[in-house]
């Protein structure tokens, strides 16, 4: 059986397609809608879905062209089936089903979160289990123990806001336009992370004590900006940004390292859009160094939402044979175990 996969991802605000041969990425095309959503201060599901429809076929064409393959060559087609914005997911799923049906290929309905974890399987990172994976983005914040790529085991997750969502909301309070991550990080570079004592986003629910909570830190920033007033905020924006960022990324790094130590694995990985944060990377490297852990961080293009990671997840997900997938459907929510593999 060949391993050439065409993958499509439309779960949020990126329209993406990729062609992946085994662990090798032949093309990884992402058409970002971030600019479209900036005027609304966040992703608008209906706007996202409309844009996916006008873009997805061209993105698929481009992925095939760049990879130097055709639809005929691919062994199967993969698509993000869950979780995500339902209207957005359905565009990708309807497209992938029609392509697979007409081309006579099997279809893999892959899990988006599984994709973030499986991104590490792809070359050049090509991380082999066991390891603990941190996935942190605007939509998710979770830790998984990966002893087998086919079955990541959820260790902890956010109980309220996602880390990236907290970053965006905090950035907005400091007057940084959406998406706020890069702006907040740039501002934080000139600030003192210990200037403000924001509550760190930890929750000790469950035996491992590996959950996260970001509602408190967001509220604390809101109160701090109110107490300071406009002039006060202007005077210490960088300190506010640095302290706020620290309250979000430090628990991510600490929990990741602790989880790896508890599980006795030799490596950790970070993925999701927040993995691009330089402070998070530095803290993870530092903690991993102390514990003799190796750190895997895929390229930024593989950390943010993309379709190559969906092809990777598809490698570890049972395909639905042609034509049994004609009734397959997208699902907005994650399954109880966290990842549908």
């Amino acid at each position: 059986m060949g391993d050439l996969v065409l993958a499509i991802e439309t779960s949020c605000d990126e329209t993406a397609a990729a062609v992946v041969d085994g662990r090798r990425i032949l093309s990884n095309i992402v058409s970002s809608q971030a600019d479209l959503h900036a005027v609304y201060g966040g992703v608008v599901p209906e706007v996202a879905a409309r844009h996916h429809l006008t873009t997805v076929n061209a993105v698929v064409d481009r992925a095939l062209a760049v990879s130097g393959t055709s639809l005929r060559d691919v062994d199967r087609i993969a698509v993000t089936g869950r979780p995500g914005l339902i209207g957005a997911l359905l565009v990708g799923v309807a497209t992938a089903k029609a392509l697979a049906y007409a081309a006579g290929k099997d279809l893999v309905m892959a899990d988006h979160l599984h994709g973030h974890v499986a991104a590490c399987w792809l070359a050049p990172v090509a991380l082999d289990p066991p390891f603990v994976a941190l996935t942190a983005s605007g939509g998710h914040t979770r830790l998984d123990l990966v002893e087998d790529y086919a079955r990541p085991v959820l260790l902890g997750q956010t109980l309220d806001d996602a880390a990236g969502e907290a970053i965006d909301k905090g950035a907005r309070l400091l007057g940084i336009p959406y998406p706020g991550g890069p702006g907040l990080e740039a501002l934080a570079r000139d600030g003192d992370p210990t200037a403000f004592d924001f509550p760190v986003g930890l929750r000790s629910r469950g035996p491992g004590g590996l959950d996260f909570s970001y509602a408190g830190v967001k509220t604390a920033l809101l109160y701090a900006t109110r107490d300071l007033g406009a002039d006060g905020v202007a005077a210490c924006r960088a300190d506010l940004a640095a302290s706020y960022q620290e309250a979000i990324v430090r628990p991510l790094a600490d929990r990741l390292i602790r989880a790896a130590a508890q599980a006795g694995v030799p490596a950790v990985s970070i993925g999701g859009g927040v993995a691009a944060n330089g402070r998070l990377r530095a803290l993870v490297e530092e903690g991993a160094g102390k514990h003799g852990l190796s750190v895997a961080i895929p390229d930024r293009a593989l950390c943010t939402d993309n379709a190559a990671m969906i092809a990777a997840a598809a490698r570890f997900t049972e395909p639905i044979p042609w034509p049994d997938f004609v009734g397959a459907d997208a699902v907005a929510t994650a399954p109880p175990g966290g990842i549908a593999a």
Binding site: V44, N57, T95, A98, Y101, A102, D329
Partner: protein, 230 residues
């Protein structure tokens, strides 16, 4: 020449296979859970019933709305996916125009205007009115839009005798000169009519006809207008 036609803009997804001059198969999936998400499954069964395989298709025609946003997108994504994989043309056709072609059989005279009315929820209807001529030829006399039913009734009364069809027909208050088509089969989209429209008027782009902005955009524009006034 075998054309596959589909429309998932209304809650009753419709699909058809049209050979050169005859409708070989036509099906409605009925109102039910999943809406347009069932369309590819329906297509697979339709092809089997007609004794063809998907590779036998020469063209696809898809209803571009108006109707449910998600349904419109599933129909168009399905049509474009099939076209992309098979390398065959995909054409768009108006869901309202197809509805009018189907309902034209119940006109009392050729002069009677046909209004197509689809429930748009929130107290509105997606509607337009047409004079229907030769097979597949329609001329819009009341603009396709998301209408308030009362305003639509007024607009229809102004264009002369008119018959209303579609699942939103009951929402439009009757005024002199305007009557409702018998409820039932005429409320459904005739998928073969989509093909007739394309044949009569030539290829049209596959552009979704939402007729409504996303709520977030509507709100943003309102804020902008209010800001401009204040």
């Amino acid at each position: 020449m075998t054309t596959f036609a589909l429309d998932t803009a209304t809650p009753d997804p419709a699909l058809a296979l049209v050979a050169d001059d005859e409708v070989r198969a036509e099906a409605w999936l009925g109102r039910g859970p999943g809406g347009g998400r069932r369309i590819l499954e329906g297509a697979h069964h339709l092809f089997a019933m007609a004794g063809i395989v998907v590779a036998d298709l020469d063209a696809v025609v898809v209803g571009v709305g108006p109707g449910g946003f998600t349904g419109i997108r599933i129909g168009i994504a399905t049509a474009l996916g099939l076209g992309q994989a098979l390398g065959i043309p995909v054409h768009g056709a108006s869901t309202l125009e197809a509805l009018a072609l189907g309902a034209a059989v119940c006109r009392h005279s050729d002069d009677e205007v046909v209004a197509s009315v689809i429930d748009a929820r929130r107290g509105q209807v997606y509607a337009a009115a047409y004079s229907v001529g030769a097979p597949g030829v329609v001329r819009e006399v009341v603009t396709a839009a998301a209408w308030d039913p009362g305003a639509l009734a007024t607009a229809l009364a102004a264009v002369g005798p008119c018959v209303i069809a579609g699942d939103g027909a009951d929402l439009v208050p009757l005024v002199p000169g305007v009557r409702r088509a018998p409820a039932g089969v005429l409320d459904r989209i005739g998928p073969a009519h989509l093909v007739a429209l394309v044949r009569a008027s030539g290829p049209r782009p596959v552009a979704p006809q939402y007729l409504r902005l996303p709520d977030a955009e509507e709100n943003r524009r309102r804020r902008e207008r209010e800001g401009a006034v204040a």
